[in-house]
Amino acid sequence: AQSVTQPDARVTVSEGASLQLRCKYSYSATPYLFWYVQYPRQGLQLLLKYYSGDPVVQGVNSFEAEFSKSNSSFHLQKASVHWSDSAVYFCALSMRGSNAKLTFGKGTKLSVKS
C-alpha cells in the first residue's frame, strides 16, 4: 500500500530564512505528487504538483519542490519565507489511474518568526 511520511511535525524558521519541508513516499511506481497548504480553519490549497518530466517543479508564492525517484522523496523548498507562510503543509500522492484518492502525510506545521 502507498504511504506518505512527513518526518517533521513542526518547523520554525525566521522570516527571510530558507525553508525545506521533507516528504518521503512509498509506492511501487511513480505516483502523482502534491503539496497542499492549509491556513487556520480553512480548506486546502494546492501549492504545486508533479506528474512527470523535470524533477523540479515550481508552484505558487515562490515555492518549489524536487522529485527524487532514487530517494522516493518530494521535498518542498522556499528561498526566503514570509510570516504569511505560517500554515500546515501536507504532502500527498495519488496513484495514476485511481479515483484520484489522495494519500496524505500527517502534515508539517510551519511557524515563521518575524
Partner: protein, 114 residues
C-alpha cells in the same frame, strides 16, 4: 470559474444526534466529488467519492453515509453521531474523466460532538 461551497461552517452536536453536511459545486458539469475527514490536528482521510449522480463509493467505514442527489451536490450524513466523528470535514472536486489526483477543496465544516 468553479466555486465550491460547504455548509454549515461549524456544528456542535450531541452524541447520538443526526448530522447532515452539504457541499455544492458550481461552474463545472459532472465533477468527481469527494468527502475527506480530518481529525483535530491530524491528517486527511478520504471517506467517499462519487463520479456520477446517484453513485457513491465508500472508502472508509466510519458509520457515515454519503449521497449525491444532484450533479452538483454531495451530502454527508449519519443517523447517530459518535464522539469519534468530531473533526473537520472537507468536500473536494476534480474534473470528470482521467484522474490526475489534483483536487479542489472547499472551506470545510468543523464538527464538534459532545
Amino acid at each position: 470559474a468553479q466555486t465550491i461551497h460547504q455548509w454549515p461552517v461549524a456544528e456542535i452536536k450531541a452524541v447520538g444526534s443526526p448530522l447532515s453536511l452539504g457541499c455544492t459545486i458550481k461552474g463545472k458539469s459532472s465533477p468527481n466529488l469527494y468527502w475527506y475527514w480530518q481529525a483535530t490536528g491530524g491528517t486527511l482521510q478520504q471517506l467517499f467519492y462519487s463520479i456520477t449522480v446517484g453513485q457513491v463509493e465508500s472508502v472508509v467505514q466510519l458509520n457515515l453515509s454519503a449521497s449525491r442527489p444532484k450533479d452538483d451536490q454531495f451530502i454527508l450524513s449519519t443517523e447517530k453521531l459518535l464522539l469519534s466523528h468530531s473533526g473537520f470535514y472537507l468536500c473536494a472536486w476534480s474534473p470528470p474523466g482521467a484522474n490526475t489526483g489534483q483536487l479542489y477543496f472547499g472551506e470545510g465544516s468543523k464538527l464538534t460532538v459532545l
